[in-house]
């Protein structure tokens, strides 16, 4: 008897509670309604929701708010690229000016064997950040340290250290720019990829030719051969050629420029062409076999 009474009373209490609380919450959600610009939500749906911060805002939502409230440019999202900026532009009713996908370029191509005079850094934390504080490490004072700070921050598994050199997998890369910030030597920069393959300077050594020759097999010696071929496109600054990407046009025949380069400091970056792949098909690349032990535990995050 008492059990039945308890059950009925309990059911009644919960029913009353449910009705009361849901009506309070229902009233509150309309009374305390905060009007949000519908466009913000629409833009949020279009943005990739990677929250990588590549646009310069904390997350996709902040960027969407900035577009609507402050009239920020719609083409800042490096991950979504031109399709996203077109969609956002449509929502905002603005024309999108040309926006090229930004992709990072590592301005160093010297792998472990190609660097001379190296004294390997083995103490303490094996990170570029730590190694960069020690003078005379890894031969070249400008080049890639090869401890993978950039590979570790990459959310897309697009950066790997191969033979002591960071290599970007452009198939996976979204251009969020995290590696650009991570590199303690600042040798990674985001550049507009106006074609699948672009010509880029892949050396950061500002020393004179004789010094570079002594420490690196492939580094730029500042011979200015490339500048002579294309004056407007390539300029010399501190013994290093710089490609002016504003003037860059994929239609230009730049193969000549690269052929002029006596070193390997001026190379094609990005997707290899079909012809390139066919040409190197039967070549065997020497790879030093080395244990590559990595667990996923190190980067594990706690989500309660």
């Amino acid at each position: 008897m008492l059990t039945t009474v308890t059950i009925i009373l309990a059911a009644a209490v919960l029913l009353v509670l449910a009705v009361a609380l849901s009506s309070i919450l229902g009233w509150a959600s309309s009374a305390f309604h905060v009007p949000v610009d519908l466009r913000i939500e629409k833009i949020n749906d279009v943005l990739p929701a990677a929250n990588c911060g590549g646009c310069g805002y904390v997350g996709c939502n902040e960027y969407a708010e900035a577009i609507v409230n402050e009239g920020v440019d719609v083409n800042l999202c490096p991950v979504g690229g031109s399709t996203t900026s077109e969609d956002v532009g449509q929502i905002m009713g603005v024309e999108v000016v040309d926006s090229w996908p930004q992709r990072p370029v590592i301005h160093c191509v010297a792998n472990r064997e190609q660097r001379y005079k190296q004294s390997e850094y083995r103490a303490g934390e094996l990170t570029c950040h730590a190694a960069n504080m020690v003078a005379g490490i890894q031969g070249c004072p400008y080049g890639c340290l090869g401890y993978g700070d950039c590979a570790r921050v990459c959310d897309y598994d697009a950066l790997h250290i191969i033979d002591g050199l960071a290599i970007i997998d452009y198939e996976k890369c979204t251009g969020c720019g995290k590696c650009v910030e991570a590199c303690p030597r600042h040798i990674i920069s985001n550049v507009p990829f106006k074609a699948q393959r672009i010509l880029a300077v892949t050396c950061s050594n500002k020393d004179f030719g004789n010094v570079v020759r002594e420490m690196c097999e492939v580094g730029c010696i500042g011979c200015k051969a490339c500048v002579r071929v294309h004056k407007g496109l390539i300029t010399m600054k501190e013994n290093l050629p710089h490609v002016n990407f504003d003037a860059y046009d994929p239609k230009l025949d730049l193969q000549e420029v690269q052929n002029k380069c006596p070193r390997e400091a001026l190379v094609w970056i990005g997707k290899p062409t079909e012809a390139d792949l066919r040409a190197t098909e039967d070549e065997e690349l020497p790879r030093r076999a080395e244990a590559d032990f990595k667990t996923t535990v190190d980067d594990a995050e706690w989500r309660g």
Binding site: L2, V5, T6, L9, A10, A12, V13, L14, L17, A18, L21, S22, I24, L25, A28, S29, F32, H33, V34, G124, E125, V297, D298, D299, A300, E301, W302, R303, G304
Partner: protein, 231 residues
């Protein structure tokens, strides 16, 4: 005087000696999840304090008037419906259901209210509120209150004052624990931790050592009680 002494002892006992995180190990998810930076940890601590206070107030009201054996409201309903006044109505089975129910909806309500009228406050800790709606530390505080309201002799039943003091002390204890943890973890970023222990493992080791350190407070309350109350 004895009343004040009791409250002080309650605060000490809840915040330090029987710290919710480091003694009972409740509320571990935010403790490990949001303790990477001190400012975030402090925000989380404040949010927990806020929610646990509201939850405890509501939990006390419901326990005292509806849930406990012979609660006035439940008995009134029973008698009005024509029941025998001598029957003791006991709705204790509902405690967990009602606590979760009430906490969740009150937090929702507060979130909407804060969003409308205090946008900066909402920006700073609004994101934490849904996270801790049904956090176990909050529920634990409610159950602690229930333990002292229902099923104890009439003279020892807690009033709403003690429930609120308990809630504030619980929030304070949580804030202390999570801020200390965040401070340690910020330093840990620069330490040379063995590879196998990096990340989650070393965090748990640190949490364990902190719990051991907090064990040092054990017995402080009995000693203080002797001095302040005399027994």
């Amino acid at each position: 005087m004895e009343y004040v002494a009791q409250l002080i002892l309650l605060v000490l006992s809840t915040a330090l000696i029987h710290n919710y995180v480091l003694y009972y190990f409740v509320g571990i998810c935010p403790f490990l999840g949001v303790s990477k930076r001190v400012d975030m940890a402090f925000g989380m601590g404040m949010a927990v304090t806020f929610v646990v206070t509201i939850a405890s107030l509501l939990a006390w009201l419901f326990t005292y008037y509806v849930i406990r054996p012979g609660a006035p409201l439940a008995t009134w309903v029973w008698v009005t419906a024509g029941g025998n006044p001598a029957t003791v109505i006991d709705l204790s089975v509902l405690s967990y259901l009602i606590y979760i129910f009430v906490i969740a909806s009150s937090v929702q309500f507060v979130e909407m209210y804060v969003r409308k009228f205090f946008p900066p406050l909402y920006k700073s800790f609004g994101i934490f509120l849904p996270l801790i709606t049904t956090n176990c530390a909050i529920l634990f505080a409610c159950l602690e209150i229930m333990k002292n309201v229902s099923g104890v002799p009439a003279a020892e039943v807690w009033g709403v004052d003690k429930a609120l003091v308990l809630a504030l002390a619980a929030g304070l204890g949580f804030t202390i624990a999570i801020v200390l943890m965040a401070g340690i973890r910020e330093e840990l970023e620069l330490a040379d931790v063995p590879k196998a222990l990096r990340g989650a493992a070393i965090t748990l080791v640190v949490a364990g050592l902190m719990a051991l350190a907090f064990m040092g407070f054990a017995g402080v309350d009995t000693g203080l009680a002797k001095v302040m109350i005399g027994h």
